[in-house]
């Protein structure tokens, strides 16, 4: 086997991707801020704590039920800022356009990027444009970067989960991934699944304003809740136990996952935030989230428990407990 080639699985948010990031980028750019492996790098600048993040978007199809690549590009970066507790201050957006792309499609995506940014209260203040020959890109790729300020009293980190904490999420899981998968593969399951793509800075602001002592935040994108919680369990050296009956999964998502042999826990989200905070603050946090935008479906899905560090497990409705692993690579439907 040639282990040197980059495979699609290296970009799927699973084990292969985190190994590549560690071996290639974290060690290649070696520095303490990157080593913290947060969704945004937090730097000290002129007495302030500045969060900086960047994200590239290459989704196929470009337009999908519930959004398009423009909305995704805004929300992804806003949510990465929100995941360290930062309120976004400004965005940058770079466009790589394939020769032959319709300007009308590009305009739609620009408009939705702007609409999502405005909803989050920010402008796109700079950008870049490149056009590449037909076949060198798939319609359009967008890279967005964002900066924001982190309040001084906050130390939200993926390494801050502690036994006794509760794990919350703001609604149904797996919606973005299943919406895109069904649209991409032309699978018509007669199910109404739309992407959950949404900016979550308001939701995080509500939690901070409610005085919650947030330990960790993470938006469970590629690799889903399973990958995000495995990262937290590893970085915090704790065991996280989810309860199957508490997992919010829309019936349509559940049906689609059953049919395709996929695990909702491993399917991508773009408008969800995992929130980990002390058990005694659960009521306050749920109330704050439910009153905030995109928080109506907030629920407690598990707890940080005494157990093998780095493990995520699921207490099943039928009784036993099982391991929740990260996906290895791309989600592949099973045949029989």
């Amino acid at each position: 086997m040639n282990q040197d080639l980059i495979l699609l699985s290296h970009g799927a948010g699973g084990q292969l991707m985190s190994e590549l990031i560690d071996a290639m980028f974290v060690s290649g750019f070696d520095n303490p801020i990157l080593r913290a492996r947060e969704d945004s790098g937090v730097i000290e600048l002129a007495g302030e704590r500045l969060a900086l993040t960047t994200d590239s978007f290459v989704v196929t199809p470009v337009v999908f039920p519930g959004g398009d690549i423009g909305k995704l590009a805004a929300c992804g970066t806003i949510n990465d800022l929100a995941a360290v507790g930062a309120q976004p201050a400004a965005l940058a957006a770079s466009f790589i356009l394939e020769e032959g792309l319709e300007q009308s499609l590009l305009r739609c995506c620009v408009q939705s990027l702007r609409a999502a940014a405005e909803e989050a209260g920010v402008w796109v203040v700079t950008g870049d444009t490149k056009v590449v020959p037909k076949g060198s890109a798939d319609k359009l790729f967008i890279t967005t970067s964002g900066i924001g300020l982190v309040p001084h009293n906050l130390t939200i980190s993926a390494s801050a989960a502690r036994p006794g904490d509760a794990v919350l999420i703001n609604g149904g899981i797996g919606e973005h991934g299943m919406a895109v998968l069904c649209a991409r593969e032309g699978i018509d399951l007669q199910l109404d699944i739309g992407s959950d793509c949404a900016p979550l800075n308001g939701l995080v602001r509500a939690l901070i304003d409610a005085g919650c002592d947030i330990h960790c935040l993470r938006d469970p994108t590629r690799g889903g809740v399973a990958a995000a919680l495995n990262e937290i369990a590893q970085q915090s050296r704790v065991c996280i136990e989810l309860r199957e009956e508490s997992l919010p999964v829309a019936p349509a998502v559940r049906t689609a996952c059953e049919l395709l042999g996929l695990e909702p826990l491993q399917v991508a989200n773009e408008g969800k935030m995992l929130v980990i905070l002390p058990e005694e603050q659960v009521e306050a946090a749920l109330a704050a989230m439910r009153a905030a935008p995109y928080g109506a479906g907030a629920a407690v899905i598990g707890r940080v428990v005494q157990g093998p560090p780095g493990r995520v497990q699921l207490k099943m409705t039928v009784g036993p407990t099982r391991i929740v692993d990260r996906p290895v690579g791309e989600p592949m439907p099973r045949i029989c």
């Binding site: 040639n2 495979l7 699978i187 019936p251 009784g319 407990t321 099982r322 439907p333 045949i335 029989c336």
Partner: protein, 365 residues
């Protein structure tokens, strides 16, 4: 969700586990021969629920796992040919051949497409008339009808650029090979629900009649599997052996004659090689003379390098139920879903992958 929730009902599960505990039978070893059962048992932790009464082991029921290295190598080699589109179920993408995998070949520039059904592969052939679309036909009696159907559809549509690498296998002959081997020690079979929906229950009767092994055809939800275990234990307690159906909502004794007719319109029964079990007489399918034009092996001159079985890999013994995955020295050490050595680790339905992925907390560090 209808047909799902009632079969995962925790109260029904608890009642069944209690009922299993009350059957006056010794502890038994039961084998399932279906990848979906393997997954379901691991996913819901069923082994743990009934471990005092039964040891559940996995047989050769995962289509990816029983596909021999040589057939995978052939398809990899064909995928490299100029002008070829290699179409496959997603399960095969990461399966290591002797030297490469489809995922690797795609990264090197081969045109490899994941399809959800063989009909999609025929559609690819129609849309790309100047290219040759080869579909990797793996799977048991369950997938064979859809593949046969795709051949008939290609014939009807004049898609002469469609062909199939037929690697289909048949379950009853493999079970015969298992029970006739001197080293198998199981007291009952949990038989595959999907396969049986096609072939019915009769082809298994020799197991009960000639070999005295209790058999129950089961569905895939926790309640289905536990009900099958209960029925098997009752047979053992009563000293009976029969082929019973615990999956009446999908399986009848006669199965689905229409689906079988489509299969025999296109394929003949042929000897086949199974990974771990070797050559088994009349245990596979091959194109019949009337449809030989769609046989990828006849259409393409492909000679893969000699197959290399991975060293130290004990998938063959796992597939025959002789050892549990964790008894293999490579398990979770050199062989993980991230870097699989053997096929039982790479297929999500493989016994090793299921054991690794879902473990039972405490089982895997």
């Amino acid at each position: 969700m209808k047909y799902v929730d009632e079969f995962r009902d925790p109260r029904v599960v608890r009642d069944l586990v209690e009922a299993i505990g009350r059957v006056p039978a010794p502890r038994v070893r039961l084998m399932e021969v279906c990848g979906t059962h393997t997954m379901s048992i691991a996913r819901y932790g069923l082994r743990e629920l009934i471990c005092e009464r039964a040891d559940l082991i996995s047989g050769p029921g995962c289509p990816v796992c029983v596909t021999p290295q040589g057939e995978i190598d052939w398809f990899l080699e064909a995928a490299r040919l100029p002008g070829v589109v290699a179409a496959t179920f997603g399960d095969m993408m990461r399966v290591p051949g002797s030297y490469s995998s489809l995922e690797q070949e795609r990264a090197r520039g081969a045109d490899v497409r994941v399809v959800y059904s063989p009909a999609d592969a025929v559609e690819l052939a129609r849309k790309n008339p100047d290219r040759q679309v080869i579909f990797f036909g793996i799977g048991f009696e369950t997938t064979a009808p859809a593949v046969a159907m795709s051949v008939l559809e290609a014939q009807r549509a004049g898609a002469a650029n469609y062909s199939v690498l037929c690697a289909h296998k048949l379950i009853p002959p493999a079970l015969r090979a298992l029970v006739e081997a001197p080293d198998l020690a199981v007291q009952g079979f949990i038989l595959p629900g999907h396969v049986s929906a096609i072939i019915g229950s009769r082809p298994y009767e020799f197991l009960a009649r000639e070999h005295g092994v209790p058999c129950v055809i089961a569905g895939f939800e926790p309640v289905d599997v536990l009900q099958a275990v209960h029925m098997l234990l009752l047979q053992v307690a009563e000293g009976r052996s029969a082929v019973e159906i615990a999956y009446g909502r999908a399986v009848s004794p006669d199965g689905n004659p229409k689906a079988r007719a489509i299969v025999s319109e296109v394929f003949d029964v042929a000897d086949a090689r199974w990974r771990g079990l070797g050559e088994i007489p009349a245990s596979g399918l091959a194109f019949n003379a009337a449809h030989a034009a769609f046989d990828a092996r006849r259409r393409f001159e492909v000679t893969p390098p000699p197959a290399v079985e991975p060293r130290g890999c004990r998938c063959g013994e796992v597939l025959r139920g002789l050892i549990a995955p964790e008894q293999c020295g490579l398990f979770a050490q050199r062989c993980t879903p991230r870097a699989p050595v053997g096929p039982c680790m790479v297929s999500s339905e493989g016994a090793c992958a299921a054991r690794y992925r879902y473990g039972s907390p405490g089982g895997r560090a």
